[in-house]
Structures are given as structure tokens and as C-alpha cells.
């Protein structure tokens, strides 16, 4: 059986790692989950192909910026039948290249001005003395500057006050480049400074946390694609909130998305309603609940990168403008195509609810079409009385870790590699304070970076500390991070893994989206 599964696994290996696995039959799914599960059969693995393009590692994500990504998108274009989206995207790309830097910045964000003003005024936290101790003691700094050394963004303080520091950053960077070398990072006791050039921007991150620069770099670079398009038009708050998300949400770390736990019958209804409400130029229909995914319907052959989805989460979560009505905004999904633009119809199902519908189209004149799609979707939803179930699921907390029934287990994060989805229980008492929450995520980050070390990766890592015991493992099918109380023993941790995986298998209908739909 195992060998059988392995063979199946090999056959999905597609050339560029960019296409989702081929469809599989129900019987391929193994009954008794063990740590030896192969990718695609672990609990939470999608049945009919993944929704996301999933990167195997951070390296995939950071793989040398723009030219590469362009190549890749061109490649996908060749492989899949030339879909209109691709063409549009590529046209947009060429257009943009012609227009040059300045234009590119401007054109990306025409519909954002009102919001920007609103944010500018709420930016009080920024007026901080950059020579003060408080400024220095921030845990993570991020600076963005242009290649000429001009300040563009800083997380704390004002860009103007920091211009001299940024000038030095620029000089350090170019000094080493003169020698045909590249600056990576500077390390000191208790903090580090990481440099990254992503033309036309330079990013410099300063971190006081224990996470390694291996993490910091890709994280900054993930942000980059974002910065390039959004922040230049003056929406610093998006970057601010994204940075905060990085500290608190394991999804970005794991390159995965969390689903709203929902009975599969209810989810099916929602999905099919969404599927039915289609339109010619519609590429993705996404229903979000906070920063959890309820469902996603996509055009056949089009895959959304989880990173892009995180950017959408962030976009929606960080501005209240969409609450008031239907929003229509051009968006760039940098992992899908870093130079092309989509147009998104963003609206909450109800002003007071957390449910947010994002409809992504290729046509900039599509607003009314999509608005119509939304109405049709809502009608269908009400008719099949799924709305109630959705509301109920939303009002309840995710699930407590005690449901799993493993003593001393405080928290866990489980990621199914093939579907790019993860699940995690509510934060238990010791981690509910923001500081402790971020500390826990920091611990996970540390485990993650050790397991995924570029030259010395690990299979298991068990870490016994005064405040908690941590256990992390990577198999070909999943990644699992467990946090036990200090009273947990190693024996307990070892026995907890199969037990937990079994529980997730039992609950997978509820915790994951197993059968993603296409139009």
C-alpha cells in the first residue's frame, strides 16, 4: 500500500511545481493516518485537486524576484490552454513595463485615495522620536527605500527623520555591490539587520526576536511584492497590518491558509451557490470570515497562490471602507502575476458580519456584473437556508484544543502540504495576551526555521523549555507543531501525534475544504 501511494505521489510531480495535483479517487485516501503519510493522502488533503499553487518552501517564494516569476507565468500560459486571463495579465505587464516606474506606482492604485487620507490621519503612532529608547526597543523594524536611498516606508517613526539612517543603509548596500558581493545581514547581540534588494526597492528589516534571518528575509521579500504596488501609493497601514499579521498568524509562516470550521454539508451549499453565481470574466470567488477562508471557487486551470490570498485577507482586514458598501478596486496578485492587475469586487454580506465576499475579475468594467453575481449568490444561499448555518459557525469560537482529548496539549498547528490549508485550535489561556501570543508564534517560527534549514533540514524537533514543551515534525504529507505544557513528557508527545492526526482525519470534513469547486 505504502509503495502504491508513493508511486501515485511521484506521478504528480509536474515540471514547474506550479500546477496542482491531478484529480484523485476517494479510495486513494488511506484509512489509518500515520506519520508516514504521503503528500496528498494526509488528513485535510483536497480530493479533487488543490485550490492553491503551493510553494514547497520559502525558497520557492523568494526565487529571485520578478524576471523569474514572469518566466513562470509565461510558462503556465504555455502549458494551459491560453486563457484570457493570462493574455490580459501579460498585456497589462507589457503595458506597465512601457509606462515605467512612476506610472506603475500611480496606475496601480487609482481608487485608493479616500482611504489613504483616512489612514494618514490615524497614523499617530508614527510620530516617535527616532533617537529615543522606545523607538529602539521595538521588536521589529522595517524600512523601505528606493534604490537612490530615498526613504519610502518605516514601520515606526517618520520617513523624514530616518532619512540619514536610510542613506547609510543604501551606502552599505552599494559599497558591497561595488565589490561584486551582496550584503545579507548584520548580526549583533540580541538583534539583527537584514538587507534585501528587490528592484526598484531596498528593504531593510531589524528584528529583536529570536527568529533567524533565514525567516526574516523571505518574510520581507513576501512583503515586497505587496509594497511595490500598494504602499507606494501611500497605504502604509496595509503594510503595518501585514507586519502585525506576520507576528500573529502562523499561516504566513507556513505558507498556508486556515478554513472556517464548518459542517461539510453547509460548506457544500455555500460553495455550489458561489459556483452557480458565475460570470464570464470571473476568475476567483472567495468568501472570507475574518482571516479564515470559508470557500473558494476558481476558474478551471487557474490557481491562487496562498500568499496572494493572505494579501487579500490583509487588504480586507485592514480597512473598514468595504464595510459600507460594495468596493471595486484594482488588485495585483503578485504571485499570480506580479505585473498584471485584476479587479476585485469586495463587499460584506452584511455590514455587521465578518463574512466578506471577494469576486476577482479580469475586466475593469465588470462591476455591475459582479454585483449581480453577489445578489444571485445571496439569493441562493438564503433559499437553501445555508446562511443560518454560516452565521452560527461564525459566532462560535473555532474549537478548543480540549476537543482533541490529549492531556497537557495546549495548542497545535497542523498543515496539510498538498492542499495548502492548515488548522489550529483557539489560543488557550496562557497565550491570549498579545505578547504571549506573539511569543508562541515566535517559538513556532524558530521550530519552522530549524526544520526547514536550507542545508541541514530536520525531521523532528523536540524542545523542552521552562514555559512549554514543543514538538515539531515534517513528513512528506504534513507539518505539525505541538505545544505542550511543561508537564508534558516525551512519551506523551510521541503518542499524541497519531492520536491528533486521527482526530483531524475524523474532523477533516469540517476543518478543511476537501473538494474545491471550479466554474
Amino acid at each position: 500500500m505504502a509503495a502504491d501511494v508513493h508511486n501515485k505521489g511521484a506521478s504528480w510531480e509536474v515540471k514547474n511545481g506550479n500546477l496542482a495535483p491531478v484529480d484523485r479517487l476517494q479510495k486513494d485516501r488511506s484509512d489509518s493516518p500515520t506519520p508516514g503519510l504521503v503528500e496528498g493522502t494526509e488528513p485535510g488533503a483536497g480530493q479533487e485537486g488543490a485550490m492553491f499553487v503551493h510553494a514547497q518552501s520559502f525558497e520557492d517564494l523568494t526565487a529571485e524576484g520578478e524576471p523569474n516569476t514572469n518566466d513562470r507565468s509565461a510558462e503556465t500560459g504555455d502549458l494551459s490552454p491560453a486563457v484570457s486571463v493570462e493574455a490580459v495579465a501579460r498585456n497589462a505587464q507589457e503595458e506597465v513595463l512601457e509606462e515605467g516606474e512612476e506610472e506603475r506606482e500611480g496606475s496601480s492604485e487609482p481608487a485608493r485615495e479616500e482611504e489613504t487620507k483616512q489612514v494618514r490621519s490615524s497614523n499617530k503612532a508614527k510620530d516617535e522620536d527616532v533617537t529615543s529608547e522606545t523607538w529602539r526597543s521595538h521588536r521589529k523594524h522595517l524600512f523601505v527605500l528606493s534604490e537612490a536611498g530615498k526613504p519610502i516606508y518605516t514601520r515606526y517613526g517618520t520617513e523624514e527623520a530616518l532619512s540619514s539612517i536610510m542613506g547609510v543603509m543604501m551606502l552599505l548596500m552599494s559599497f558591497l555591490e561595488d565589490k561584486k558581493n551582496i550584503i545579507r545581514s548584520i548580526h549583533a547581540d540580541g538583534y539583527r539587520v537584514v538587507f534585501l534588494r528587490k528592484s526598484p526597492l531596498i528593504l531593510v528589516g531589524v528584528s529583536r526576536t529570536s527568529c533567524s534571518d533565514r525567516e526574516l528575509t523571505p518574510r520581507t521579500s513576501n512583503r515586497q511584492s505587496y509594497d511595490l504596488r500598494r504602499l507606494l501609493a501611500g497605504s502604509e497601514h496595509l503594510t503595518d497590518s501585514l507586519l502585525q499579521l506576520l507576528d500573529r498568524d502562523p499561516g504566513l509562516l507556513l505558507s498556508a491558509v486556515m478554513c472556517l470550521p464548518l459542517a461539510d454539508s453547509a460548506r457544500d451549499v455555500v460553495s455550489s451557490s458561489l459556483q452557480a453565481a458565475k460570470s464570464k470574466n470571473l476568475v476567483f470567488s472567495i468568501l472570507l470570515a475574518g482571516n479564515r477562508l470559508v470557500t473558494l471557487v476558481r476558474k478551471k486551470d487557474q490557481f491562487l497562490h496562498h500568499m496572494d490570498l493572505h494579501l487579500l485577507f490583509n487588504l480586507v482586514g485592514s480597512s473598514s471602507a468595504f464595510r459600507q458598501g460594495e468596493g471595486w478596486t484594482p488588485i495585483c496578485l503578485p504571485k499570480f502575476n506580479p505585473a498584471g492587475f485584476f479587479h476585485a469586487h469586495i463587499s460584506y454580506l452584511e455590514p455587521a458580519s465578518d463574512l466578506c465576499l471577494i469576486l476577482v475579475s479580469t475586466d475593469r468594467e465588470d462591476f455591475f456584473n459582479l454585483s449581480d453575481c453577489k445578489t444571485r449568490f445571496l439569493e441562493r444561499l438564503r433559499k437553501r437556508s445555508a446562511y443560518q448555518a454560516l452565521q452560527e459557525a461564525l459566532s462560535m469560537p473555532s474549537y478548543p484544543v480540549s476537543q482533541v482529548g490529549i492531556p497537557e496539549l495546549r495548542h497545535f498547528v497542523y498543515k496539510s502540504k498538498s492542499s495548502g490549508l492548515y488548522t489550529s485550535p483557539d489560543l488557550p489561556v496562557p497565550y491570549q495576551a498579545v505578547e504571549e501570543h506573539e511569543r508562541l508564534i515566535g517559538l513556532y517560527q524558530n521550530l519552522h526555521s530549524c526544520l526547514h534549514h536550507p542545508t541541514r533540514p530536520l525531521r523532528y524537533m523536540y524542545c523542552c523549555r521552562e514555559t512549554e514543551n514543543l514538538y515539531a515534525l515534517v513528513t512528506s504529507g504534513f507539518e505539525l507543531y505541538l505545544c505542550f505544557s511543561p508537564l508534558g513528557t516525551k512519551a506523551l508527545a510521541v503518542s499524541a501525534v497519531p492520536k491528533l492526526v486521527k482526530w483531524i482525519r475524523k474532523e477533516e470534513d469540517r476543518l478543511f475544504i476537501l473538494s474545491p469547486l471550479t466554474y
Binding site: 530536520l458 524537533m461 523549555r465
Partner: protein, 480 residues
């Protein structure tokens, strides 16, 4: 001097280069604060052939980085700089004196077809900062042991004297650095202690006391057996670097004559003395030689407070070696050396054979040595005690380890984790090669174990380590 050691991988044409020393320099920004005077800052620069402006630029970069990091934390400036091609490690041992070591990242050279130059791939994650930071600190300690502090030299003879001293010392010392074989042991820089029963230990203690009593000039004494320390009167920090010097430089230089036969021309000094095996490792090679010079190397200890300059006399009989340290103000004469030789020689010969006997008995009791399933490194920060079964031997040229370098690096990673958090911790990992690596930190002690049990699970590994602690460290407490 580039220490490139190409290693041909079997079957392919790829060339692997180990990390090597690119440059090493010492500067003081206060010596040339004005523009146009930058060269005066530079006190030492290796390699010497580098063009002046290039030196100035490289020193300038280090200054800039240190200054830059002060904006984020004024009291903790940069320790290292990572670039694609190399690592730079910074150390400020004395105020305003900066030492910088630039190490090239290991790289793989892949030949290209059509006569194109080969592509070079740098392996940026291979070098562990703490290892090379420690090597740099060791460079300073070694310099200080033989030359005293930078500022003393500057006070005594100005920049000229300091530059002269630095050049004289580092020119030779840098050639003895073997960066490719540096690992966790360099981070610890510990001292290996010789395990001994109480009786023999007391015998040694009384021997040391007797000698110090009769030779009142002797200020400090240290006793070693088999390159392991038994007794030392020096401060720990001083002993640490002296131990390093003895075991990696002085002793290995003298093992060859000992291994040579009795009639070999390599050991002429023994011909005249049949009463005992004692001889000087520093100072006169042969006391009977009428032209013998009674000059001993000078060392500096307690540089923080009393700042003492001492003669270092190392005397050895069989496997036992004793260091006698005498105030440098006293001139050591032929009479003193003869007195020392006749007093210490016979006693030490006897003592050495006693220790040897005892050692053999102990080894027989602990049973025949079979290849264990594990290898370990132990280090205690309190007394600098260190023990490794991973390293087969450590000589001037290479330290041979019996495990894969990647595993050593995992040990280094775990050590960095421990250093970050100031609390007791235990980390158990399983590498992709299926080796288990366990790191334990309890109070001031650190223990690292590598287990080669591919099919063991976490619980079995834990049991195995417990057993190891019980047999090897039965009276040392480790947190469970």
C-alpha cells in the same frame, strides 16, 4: 596567503572549497580621525600585499557598520556581517581597538562547457557565527598571553611598538589557524581534565607544594598529564588560553623526538642523563651544553588587575608535564635550571609512572572499550571542563572528528539556540540522515549527544541519553 584546498568530488568535476581566511585586520579609529589620515588607523592588515586604498575602504566599511548598528542599540554594536561571498566577524577586545576577520564562505565550483569560466556557488549557511567569533577572540587571547594588551604596548612604545608586536605575532599565528576544521569545541574553548583517583591526586598536590616550597621563585604551577590538566594555580581565563597553547602548539612540536628511538639523533639531550626522563620543553634543550641559552618565553597573566609578566618554564617527563611560572623581572640562571632539573626530574619521572599505572587500573575496571552507539561533547561553563568523544585528536593542523560535518553544524545551531535563552533547555532533533542529536543545557553545563540509531523513536533516544548520563556523568545533575 590563500588557503584554498580543492577537494575533488568523486565522479563529478565539481570542486569544493572549504572556508578560508580572506583577510584579518586590526584598527583603531582614534589613530586617524581626520580625512586623509585614514591609513594611520590600520595597525595590522593581512594579507599585506593589499593595496593601501583597498585596506582603507575595508576598514571604513567595518567602521560604518559598527556605527550604523549603534543607532539600534548603542551598547551592542555589530558582531558579524553576512554577505553572499563571505563572513566578517568583529571584536572589540579593548576600547576602540577593533579586530576583524573575513572568512570566505565555502563554495562549489562547477565547470562550464565551451571554455566559459566555471560558475561559483557560495554556500552561505555553512558558517556559524559563534564559531568564528570565538576563533577571533582566541586570536586576541593568544596575542595577549605572549604580548600583553594593546594599550600597554601603545603606552610603552607608541604606535610603532604596537604595530611591530602585532606584525611579529600575527604573521606566524595566522598561518596556524585552520578555519575549515573549527567547530563547537572552539566556541567552548574548554580544558580537558584528566580523571584521577584521590590518592594520586594528593600525590600530585604534595609534589606541587614541595616544589613551590623549595623553589621560592616559582609563582604559579600547572600540572598536565597526557595533554590533560590535573592541577593549575593560574586564573581560569589565563589557564584556558595557556592550555590551548600547550596542547595545540608546544606539545605537538615535541612529540616527534619522544617517539623517535633512544639513539636517534633527534633526541640528543637525553644522552647525558640516565637518572630520569625529565627535560625542558622551553628554554635550554640540553643543560650540559656549555652554550645553552637560559631564555624562556614570557607570558602575561591577570591583565585585568595586577598585570603580571612571567617566564614560562615547561618541564616534561614521559607523559607528565609541569609549567612553572616565574616573575619575569628575575633573570633565570643556569644554576636555577640545574636545581630545578635535579629536584623535579626524578620526582616527576616517578609520579608519571604512578599516574600511568593508576590510569591503566582504572581503565581495566571500567571494562573493555567497545564502540558505543553514541558520541558526545560535554562542557561546563563554571570550570571550563570539556570532554569530547567526537574528536579523535586535536593537533596543530587538524581536528579530526568522527562525525559528519553537517551534524557538527547542527550541534552548533543547537548551541546558538541555548545561547539565546537564559534558561534550562533540552532540544532533541532528528536529522534527514536519521541521526538523532540531543542537546541539554542545565545550569552552566551543556551536553550534546549524537546517536546513530536510525529506528529509535524519541522515547528510546531519551532513555539512551539517560543511560549515558548515568554511566558517564553519574554525579552530575541534568535536568530531565
Amino acid at each position: 596567503m590563500l588557503m584554498i584546498r580543492p577537494r575533488m568530488a568523486s565522479g563529478t568535476q565539481e570542486k569544493q572549497y572549504t572556508p578560508s581566511l580572506l583577510s584579518f585586520f586590526i584598527y583603531n579609529p582614534k589613530f586617524g580621525p581626520r580625512e586623509g589620515e585614514e591609513e594611520k588607523k590600520i595597525l595590522f592588515y593581512h594579507p599585506i600585499e593589499i593595496e593601501k586604498n583597498e585596506k582603507i575602504r575595508n576598514v571604513g566599511l567595518c567602521e560604518a557598520i559598527v556605527q550604523f548598528t549603534r543607532t539600534f542599540c548603542p551598547t551592542k554594536p555589530a558582531k558579524s556581517l553576512h554577505t553572499q561571498k563571505n563572513r566578517q566577524v568583529f571584536h572589540e577586545p579593548e576600547e576602540n581597538y577593533w579586530m576583524v576577520m573575513v572568512v570566505r564562505n565555502p563554495m562549489v565550483e562547477k565547470p562550464n562547457k565551451d571554455g566559459k569560466p566555471p560558475t561559483v556557488e557560495y554556500q552561505e549557511d555553512e558558517i556559524i557565527d559563534s564559531v568564528y567569533g570565538s576563533v577571533l577572540k582566541q586570536c586576541y587571547s593568544m596575542y595577549k598571553l605572549f604580548n600583553g594588551t594593546f594599550s600597554r604596548a601603545f603606552d610603552a612604545g607608541g604606535v610603532e611598538l604596537l604595530i611591530q608586536k602585532l606584525e611579529k605575532f600575527f604573521y606566524r599565528y595566522l598561518q596556524t589557524l585552520h578555519l575549515q576544521s573549527c567547530d563547537l569545541l572552539d566556541v567552548f574553548g574548554g580544558i580537558a581534565f584528566f580523571p584521577l583517583d584521590k590518592m594520586t591526586y594528593l600525590k600530585i598536590q604534595s609534589f606541587v607544594n614541595r616544589v613551590e616550597e623549595s623553589l621560592s621563585l616559582v609563582k604559579y604551577t600547572a600540572f598536565l598529564y597526557n595533554d590533560q590538566l590535573i592541577w593549575s594555580g593560574l586564573e581560569q581565563e589565563d589557564m584556558r588560553i595557556l592550555f590551548k597553547y600547550l596542547t595545540t602548539s608546544l606539545f605537538p612540536r615535541h612529540t616527534e623526538p619522544e617517539l623517535a628511538g633512544r639513539d636517534s639523533p633527534l633526541r640528543p639531550e637525553l644522552t647525558g642523563n640516565l637518572l630520569h626522563y625529565g627535560r625542558f620543553l622551553t628554554g635550554p634543550a640540553n643543560l650540559k651544553d656549555p652554550d645553552a641559552k637560559f631564555r624562556f618565553p614570557r607570558i602575561f597573566v591577570n591583565t585585568e588587575d595586577s598585570y603580571e609578566e612571567l617566564h614560562l618554564i615547561v618541564y616534561k617527563a614521559m607523559s607528565a608535564a609541569v609549567c612553572f611560572m616565574v616573575n619575569a623581572a628575575v633573570d633565570l640562571s643556569r644554576e636555577f635550571c640545574e636545581q630545578l632539573d635535579s629536584l623535579v626530574g626524578p620526582q616527576l619521572t616517578l609520579l608519571a609512572s604512578d599516574i600511568c599505572e593508576q590510569y591503566n587500573i582504572n581503565r581495566r575496571i571500567s571494562g573493555p572499550e567497545k564502540e558505543p552507539q553514541f558520541k558526545f561533547i560535554y562542557f561546563n561553563h563554571m570550570n571550563l571542563a570539556e570532554k569530547s568523544t567526537i574528536h579523535m585528536r586535536k593537533t596543530t593542523s587538524v581536528s579530526l572528528t568522527s562525525v559528519h560535518p553537517d551534524l557538527m553544524k547542527i550541534l552548533g545551531d543547537i548551541n546558538c539556540d541555548f545561547a539565546r535563552v537564559d534558561e534550562d533547555e533540552e532540544i532533541i532533533v532528528k536529522a534527514m540522515t536519521d541521526y538523532w542529536v540531543v542537546g541539554k543545557k542545565s545550569d552552566q553545563r551543556e551536553l550534546y549527544v549524537i546517536l546513530n540509531q536510525k529506528n529509535a523513536n524519541l522515547i528510546e533516544v531519551n532513555e539512551e541519553v539517560k543511560r549515558l548520563c548515568a554511566t558517564q556523568f553519574n554525579n552530575i545533575f541534568f535536568l530531565d
